[in-house]
Assembly symmetry: C2
Homo-oligomer: 340 residues x 2
DNA sequence: GTTTTTAACGAAAACGTTTTAGTAGTTTTA
DNA sequence: TAAAACTACTAAAACGTTTTCGTTAAAAAC
């Protein structure tokens, strides 16, 4: 049964015409007689000829493949990004090779190396937590391979970037709490080195000071943003010291849920006594009780803008290295639900 | 700056030695003088030679790429599968091209076609809801391309399959409820056509009858497994008719949370008055209040077994078409938490 | 000292396609 | 009717490798 794959040569033999003519007929070149073209097309259909894309790409020195490197896939935000990018690319007949780094710099470097070897047309990357210096990205860019950083980026690289406007988003969230009359607002932040964490903190701070409240260092604590138990314990410690807290702005939905869980366990009502706002709008935030007010990061728009930028870079590859690089900001939405 | 990519030919020119020798030196062939090999290696490192994997694969008639086709990526279970498969494959230096179908048969067919054109070494697929007949899979298999179905499979295809042991899992879950003394157990099931839904229902039924309880048709209702509002409304209708229900076995965690939400809104205590068990062990199930008892589907093991099977098939490709196909069952774990 | 073996290398084909450059034959132009 | 233009085709190179099959020279065997 196993029908062997048929090639242009098979068509050419069967029709008594050269391979060049077959290729031209198939690809719409003008210098082929309509009747010949018809014959070629007909036989191609009959024999179910499928062009060997691998050979085409090799010959054309393009791969029609882009690489997508990111910290994780099993993650609500990132998996939406993967899904969106893959779908957008497929509309352009581009395939996507995904490589998770698990926040490991070595894996990130390995992934990039593999992608370069594969001759990918371009790379989209969201950096691992361990990545301090973006030298490996710059090297790739110098090789003439278009590369766009998104979401978790490095401020040190001269590359195109697409980022969430974390600072504005955080400010918006905190201003919302303030507009609800909250005055003693705690912030559960993440790592001191993560750019997201820094920007969200800065947004928090400027919302506080801009509205005439006094910024208290003590009300800002660091948590592990994706660890609910650790976050809950950390928040519990803070709340013990400062039970005058009337609102919490958390760096992630998980951290927010951790706070809510702790407050519930102490029979503090959310939102009347303490309001809580998260960040990311994970699916889960609409399933909790109370439903969580949060920031939607607009994963699709992040994916779209990143892919678009990369796609543009690929299309104008000739002067890629010399072109001015830009940073694009993705707008967020405040989703107001029951927790605030 | 843009250093052009260097090829074997560049090395060969620089060293005054033939391309064959360079290639052999690089690839550990025995018939090359150790000193020559050293020189080649040295220069290769200096010039940062990277083999053009595209050319290698083309020449070797392999792609070192596998295709992964599934309904969605932005989904806790599937994204874990994607992540796991990609990681396992990367250990074998295999790249993965992912294609979501969004439960659309046309997209599924298109995705497969693209993958075949790309000469992928093999394909892993989880079928869309729309897929009734697996003809397109069989065609591919007949082309000699190894293919393994996983999770959402078709009973009609003579192919290798890896599936969750849904029936056993559901039985286990319901037996757990029975062991807690529950006697009037409702089941929130999914589509009448989906194999998962059928098997979970059959597991539910056999747990009931095997333990001497009477199976009541009325206690089984159909819901949209991933739509919390619809599920809640459907369950509300059921509970209105039958408020003697003392336990619920739901086809997904979402449906389970929907039931819990409805019960809470009626001030029915979970689990003392009504116990609830979900299915899938999504991240969210450990974050709800009460934490949800559920079935862990062991996404990693599903990924591992599927990849392993495909990998074996690829390695023994010569007699693939004629080989006996098998179905592998992935064991599940009952995760007992607070909702039961 | 002749034959045989071995060591080290290179030429060239091959993978499937695209594309350039060329060629015959026909048609148009002037 | 000779030159110019056009039509429809083909040959062959090219993309970067791998791998087969020689080939030469040196080493080993007898």
């Amino acid at each position: 049964m196993s029908s062997k794959k048929i090639s242009i040569k098979d068509l050419s033999n069967a029709l008594g015409v050269s391979v060049s003519t077959v290729s031209k007929a198939l690809n719409g070149y003008p210098d082929v007689n309509p009747s010949t073209r018809k014959k070629v097309m007909k036989l191609a259909k009959e024999l179910q000829y499928l062009p060997n894309q691998q050979a085409v790409n090799f010959r054309k020195k393009s791969s029609q493949i882009i690489g997508l490197v990111l910290p994780q896939i099993n993650h609500f935000y990132f998996s939406k990004i993967v899904e969106s990018i893959v779908e957008l690319a497929s509309e352009d007949n581009i395939s996507v090779i995904v490589r998770p780094t698990f926040e490991n710099l070595e894996k990130e470097k390995m992934a990039l190396l593999e992608l370069v070897k594969l001759n990918v047309d371009g790379i989209l990357i969201s950096l691992s937590d361990e990545t301090r210096f973006p030298d490996h990205l710059i090297e790739i860019s110098n090789l003439g391979i278009p590369i766009v950083e998104f979401d978790k980026i490095s401020k040190l690289s001269p590359l195109d970037k697409v980022v969430t406007s974390d600072r504005d988003a955080a400010k918006k969230a905190v201003e919302h709490l303030i507009s609800r009359g909250k005055k003693t607002i705690a912030h559960l932040r993440g790592s001191l080195l993560s750019q997201n964490s820094i920007d969200r903190f800065l947004g928090f701070k400027s919302a506080i000071t801009d509205s005439g409240l006094t910024f208290e260092e003590e009300l800002v604590i660091q948590v592990l943003p994706n660890n609910i138990n650790e976050s809950q314990r950390s928040f519990a410690r803070l709340y013990k010291k400062r039970n005058d807290i009337d609102a919490v702005f958390a760096i992630t939905d998980i951290a927010a849920i951790a706070a809510i869980r702790e407050l519930k366990s102490q029979s503090i009502d959310v939102p009347s006594q303490v309001s809580v706002v998260g960040f990311s709008n994970w699916q889960i935030s609409s399933l909790t009780t109370p439903r969580l007010t949060t920031i939607d990061q607009n994963a699709f728009e992040m994916a779209r803008a990143s892919y678009q930028k990369l796609s543009d870079n690929i299309k104008t590859k000739n002067n890629y290295t010399s072109r001015e690089k830009e940073t694009i900001f993705i707008k967020t939405d405040l989703i107001i639900r029951e927790s605030s």
